[in-house]
């Protein structure tokens, strides 16, 4: 946790402490400025230890509060019980571990998703209705952003349906993976075994896979669990081998392939792969830069389902993918509230006060559907106390601090990033008709902060723009993608936001300029690309931009790049064919083998290739034609371009939707939220309106 928000809160806390200093815990004394006693190796709670360290610096303040303990007496009494508790009593386990959901009811995942997973599992174990589905329920890929309850769902279902989870872990020293649920004595045995020689991590993985699928647990009979349930097992792959390494990836793919092609073992052991969508940050641009001749290895560096699973499997019947969406705010809030209730009912809770509703709201909002980060933030909020005379003010402040502390790096989804840039909002824009009052107020607040630019001299008058509402620095900090990829997204989408060709001119020119600035190597790259691009785009786009419910598309660039790569392969094949012919003709040695360059082949050979194609088509039935000229048919990849196939044949720009980056299925979550609101109306009835206001319509998504 970033310490930025702490000193302030801790100061307050210490003031409080000193006001009731009679029961000061011993650890505080030890750390005090006058302490001559050496620190004994007592385990320090990181959170409280931190507060002690700050104490010396705030002596003047604390002395004043010492002098005036009475003014805070009322509050002090309320907090009395907290001061009584020694610091050591604070449980230092993380809430995400402590309050892990155990039943489906506690799970914040959408009911339908859980149902999907459960159905899949039951089909995998029992074969579904017809009892024949086992064959096709071999691999389940659970994908989704981090903190959407993928693992928890499996664990909860394991408990509910009574199966055991065998999890693979990339241990560095361990040789045998430990069972997931109970790290029993079996894991103890598995220390590094130096006698047996080194076994590669992947060999271990393969061994684990075969053992886990085929072998039965010999202890199951002796263990307390009944035989029938012990038989059900799944393999959980969350900690994957290093599949970004090309060779390991191939091996991994082969392992999976052989797994699905082999008949299911009895009892079936389905494989569950959990893939958290990592952001696309850190795209390996210098690999792509090396495109000059040999395209380099163009594989995506980010882990996603396509790198984890081989292409053949992905399209095949054996793999099911269940996508988890970010957790809807309503569900999230409900889960957090439930957690708080259990927490403050338990005995550990005496040391802190429950965070207010506002704090909870801030947490929910800043979590962006990541329940793990939300719980972390919540725990932090409970540790941090901000007592003071003005309750309202304190809460506001705590909310502010929380906001600063819990802000996640990738908080701005790509969708919204694009929206912010493309909608090009400027000061005094006419408000969006569908905007709520809250949004309008927000806009006004932003406008009030913006300074009008001074007017430019006449010869630059055409560059005059109203002050922009977009904070480029903030965008840069929050951008989930690097500037090269960002430019591709802009390039794909900018034309929709222009009415006239003159308006596109600026953006196109900036794109071109930014791309050509800087050098080839990464260290020569222009460090200001993002700013240049964003500012350039904002400057060039019309203001206000036309609104006709534009859709964002993913860049087509990569699919065409792939196509080009294939075509280059075909060029090479064709060239090799020419030389081969040549060698054959001249009897062993060709004197013109180097004669054809790739460009010659591409630009000049196509006429003859086309002619020979037409020829062979005409002569197909009668094989009479002297068997002469048969270029490899693959040449059509570069030689043939059909005008009739019109625009972007084969390759279609995929629409960018929100699930790619952040929020998903607003509608679903809204409906969903409503249902839960009815259930828990006592606590959250009042929030309903706000929830709806806060959750966006697709139209004003860029405000987010």
């Amino acid at each position: 946790m970033a310490p930025s928000g702490k000193p302030h809160s801790q100061t307050k806390r210490m003031q409080k402490k000193s006001s009731g200093s009679s029961a000061r815990p011993t650890t505080v004394k030890l750390d005090g400025p006058s302490s001559s006693v050496p620190l004994h190796p007592k385990r320090l709670n990181p959170l409280t230890a931190f507060s002690n360290l700050t104490q010396p610096t705030l002596s003047p303040e604390s002395s004043t509060s010492n002098l005036a303990p009475k003014s805070q007496k009322g509050k002090g009494k309320a907090k009395q019980r907290k001061n009584d508790s020694p610091v050591d009593n604070i449980d230092d386990s993380l809430w995400i571990d402590k309050y892990e959901p155990t039943t489906e009811g506690e799970l914040a995942v959408h009911v339908k998703k859980v149902e999907d997973v459960r159905r899949w599992l039951s089909e995998a174990f029992d074969g579904g209705h017809a009892g024949k589905l086992q064959k096709y329920r071999r691999i389940l890929a659970m994908t989704g952003p981090a903190g959407t309850g993928k693992t928890s769902t499996i664990r909860v279902l394991a408990r509910e349906m009574g199966f055991e989870i065998m999890e693979w872990r990339n241990g560095t020293g361990e040789t045998i993976p430990t069972p997931f649920v109970e790290p029993g004595p079996s894991s103890q045995r598995s220390g590094p075994d130096f006698d047996s020689g080194y076994e590669g991590l992947f060999t271990k993985f393969e061994a684990f896979m075969t053992r886990a699928t085929t072998c039965h647990d010999i202890f199951s009979a002796s263990s307390s669990t009944s035989k029938s349930t012990a038989k059900k097992r799944v393999i959980l792959l969350e900690d994957l081998p290093n599949i970004l390494h090309q060779k390991t990836q191939t091996q991994f793919h082969e392992a999976l392939q052989s797994l699905v092609t082999s008949p299911p073992s009895n009892p079936p052991v389905p494989v569950i792969i959990i893939i958290s969508d990592a952001g696309v940050r850190g795209e390996a641009t210098d690999e792509r830069r090396a495109e000059g001749g040999g395209w380099g290895n163009n594989q995506a560096q980010a882990m996603d389902i396509r790198t984890v699973l081989p292409k053949t499997l992905l399209g095949g019947p054996y793999v099911t993918e269940i996508q988890f969406n970010p957790i809807a705010p309503t569900l999230l809030k409900k889960a957090l509230q439930a957690m708080l209730n259990t927490h403050f009912l338990s005995s550990f809770a005496i040391s802190s006060i429950a965070p207010s509703k506002e704090v909870l709201d801030v947490i929910v909002e800043s979590a962006h559907g990541d329940i793990r980060s939300a719980i972390m933030a919540l725990q932090f909020a409970c540790v941090m106390e901000l007592p003071g005379p003005n309750k309202k003010k304190n809460q506001a402040r705590s909310a502010l601090i929380l906001e600063a502390v819990t802000r996640r790096e990738q908080s701005l989804a790509l969708f919204h990033l694009l929206g912010k840039v493309m909608y090009n909002k400027r000061k005094d824009d006419p408000p969006n008709p569908s905007a709520s009052a809250k949004d309008l107020q927000k806009e006004r607040a932003i406008d009030a902060l913006l300074k009008d630019a001074t007017q430019l001299p006449p010869h630059l008058r055409h560059h005059d723009r109203r002050a922009s509402r977009v904070d480029v620095d903030a965008l840069y900090a929050d951008s989930p993608i690097d500037s090269s990829l960002f430019s591709l997204y802009i390039h794909q989408n900018y034309t929709q936001f222009c009415n006239e060709i003159e308006e596109t001119e600026g953006v196109a020119d900036w794109l071109s300029w930014v791309d050509s600035s800087g050098g080839d190597a990464w260290y020569l790259a222009n460090p200001h690309q993002f700013h240049l691009l964003t500012l350039g785009t904002l400057h060039s786009l019309p203001s206000p931009v036309p609104r006709r419910s534009q859709k964002y598309f993913k860049p087509e660039f990569f699919s065409f790049l792939q196509k080009e790569k294939d075509a280059w392969d075909s060029v090479r094949t064709t060239r090799d064919w020419i030389t081969e012919n040549e060698v054959k003709e001249t009897g062993g040695f060709g004197w013109r083998v180097g004669g054809w360059s790739n460009n010659d082949v591409v630009l000049e050979l196509s006429s003859i290739l086309k002619a020979s194609d037409a020829e062979s088509r005409r002569h197909q039935p009668s094989q009479s034609q002297q068997q002469t000229f048969q270029p490899p048919p693959i040449h059509r990849l570069f030689s043939r371009m059909d005008l009739t196939r019109a625009m972007g044949n084969g390759i279609r720009a995929q629409q960018l939707n929100e699930s790619d980056i952040g929020l998903d299925h607003e509608f679903e979550s809204l409906v969903d939220g409503d249902r839960h609101l009815h259930n828990t109306s006592s606590q959250s009835n009042t929030k309903e309106g706000e929830d709806k206001g806060g959750w966006l319509e697709s139209d004003d998504i860029e405000d987010f």
Binding site: R289, A290, E291, G292, G293, G294, H491, T495, Q496, E500, I501, E502, E503, T504, E505, A508, D509, L511, S512, W513, D515, S516, S517, F560, L561, A567, W568, V571, I578, T579, N581, E582, F589, W591, R592, V593, G594, G595, S597, N598, N599, D600, V602, L603, E604, L605, S606, S607, I608, K610, A611, S612, E615, T628, S639, M641, L643, M647, G648, N649
Partner: protein, 356 residues
């Protein structure tokens, strides 16, 4: 059966059909025993490579035609493997370093050093040196050219370099000054006609002069293209009489179509259409500079005189950017948008003045 272009290609300096003066000079150079580094340049299809191989034969005899293809693996500084095809005989070696993309410097350095440090072991060889032919020298990076320059001086004793390029403008001055420059101009119409008739005769058919004229006219001085077209036509209609329709290659038709799109409408939606076409061209391996050139030439044909200079100016500007940048499509599109905007403004202004 190999292509006619390869099959009927002259193999000796004597059998070359045109640029007789050049052939004589090459012959005497080969005989002099003081063979310099050389740079052959000229438009494509003019006969540079043919002349190079003829010169090599003159230098080393027919043994130089015994070629084999090696695939060599080089390691880039970032440990990436680069596979390069190398064509070699006992006396010479031919590489196309542009296949290595940005890492051409590594290839050049490694390879030349290796060649230069090995002496010619064949005692019966006519020359003491080996020749390295570097194709597409104008697409060598600056780094590679600089590396080449040092090597050329250092290993002069047992190695000669023959560079082959379309134009000298992209070669650095030190390299140009170290080479004997040989300009291979495109053949004239008559010369091309002679060659066409020669090919037809060797292939065993009569080429009607009309057809030859038409092919030559279409080829724009590119002899290789002309012979390829001839072969394609022959394949389609064996008698070569009647009205010939020389089909342009698909990519060229496509480029012209793009130009028409640009001229006929100027709007953001049209930009998207043009972009799709560009993507299609790029994904068919058509070099972006060629795309820009072809489209620009076609657009220039179709617009008003006053706009032509501007259009070419911007094409030049964006071509430079394209060389520096990574994503070719940006620059192509930026040019298109620029042209569209110019074109539109031009017409807008005309209308206004008429009203006045």
């Amino acid at each position: 059966m190999s292509l006619w272009v390869d099959q009927y290609r002259p193999r000796t300096l004597d059998s070359l059909h045109y640029h007789q003066g050049l052939s004589d000079r090459l012959k005497s150079l080969a005989a002099s025993g003081d063979f310099p580094h050389m740079l052959f340049y000229g438009p494509s299809g003019a006969g540079k490579k043919t002349r190079i191989s003829c010169t090599l034969r003159q230098l080393f005899g027919p043994g130089v035609e015994k070629l084999k293809i090696d695939q060599r693996v080089f390691l880039s500084p970032s440990k990436r493997k680069l596979e390069i095809n190398i064509v070699q005989s006992n006396y010479h070696l031919e590489i196309t370093p542009s296949e290595a993309g940005n890492y051409d410097r590594v290839v050049i350095q490694e390879l030349l050093k290796e060649i230069a440090q090995t002496q010619q072991v064949d005692l019966s060889a006519k020359q003491r040196f080996k020749v390295v032919v570097i194709n597409e020298a104008d697409s060598l990076s600056r780094d590679a050219q600089a590396a080449l320059r040092r090597t050329m001086e250092k290993y002069m004793s047992n190695m000669r370099i023959i560079l082959c390029a379309n134009s000298t403008s992209r070669l650095i001055a030190p390299i140009k000054s170290r080479c004997l420059l040989m300009r291979v101009a495109a053949p004239s119409v008559d010369e091309m006609n002679t060659v066409m008739q020669f090919v037809a005769k060797r292939a065993g058919f009569d080429l009607p002069p009309d057809a030859a004229d038409k092919i030559v006219e279409d080829s724009g001085g590119n002899l290789r293209k002309a012979i390829l077209v001839l072969e394609a036509l022959k394949m389609q209609s064996p008698d070569l009489t009647g009205p010939l329709s020389i089909a342009k290659p698909d990519w060229e038709v496509y480029c012209h179509k793009v130009a028409d799109l640009i001229v006929s409408e100027q709007s953001p939606a049209r930009v998207m259409e043009v972009r799709a076409k560009f993507y299609e061209l790029l994904s068919h391996c058509i070099p972006p500079t060629i795309i820009l050139k072809t489209v620009a030439e076609r657009v220039v044909e179709r617009v008003d005189e006053a706009l032509k200079a501007d259009i070419i100016h911007w094409a030049a500007l964006y071509e430079v950017r394209m060389r520096n940048g990574n994503k070719k499509i940006y620059h192509l599109e930026a040019w298109v948008v620029k042209v569209m905007s110019l074109y539109k403004q031009f017409f807008y202004n005309i209308d206004m003045s008429e009203f006045d």
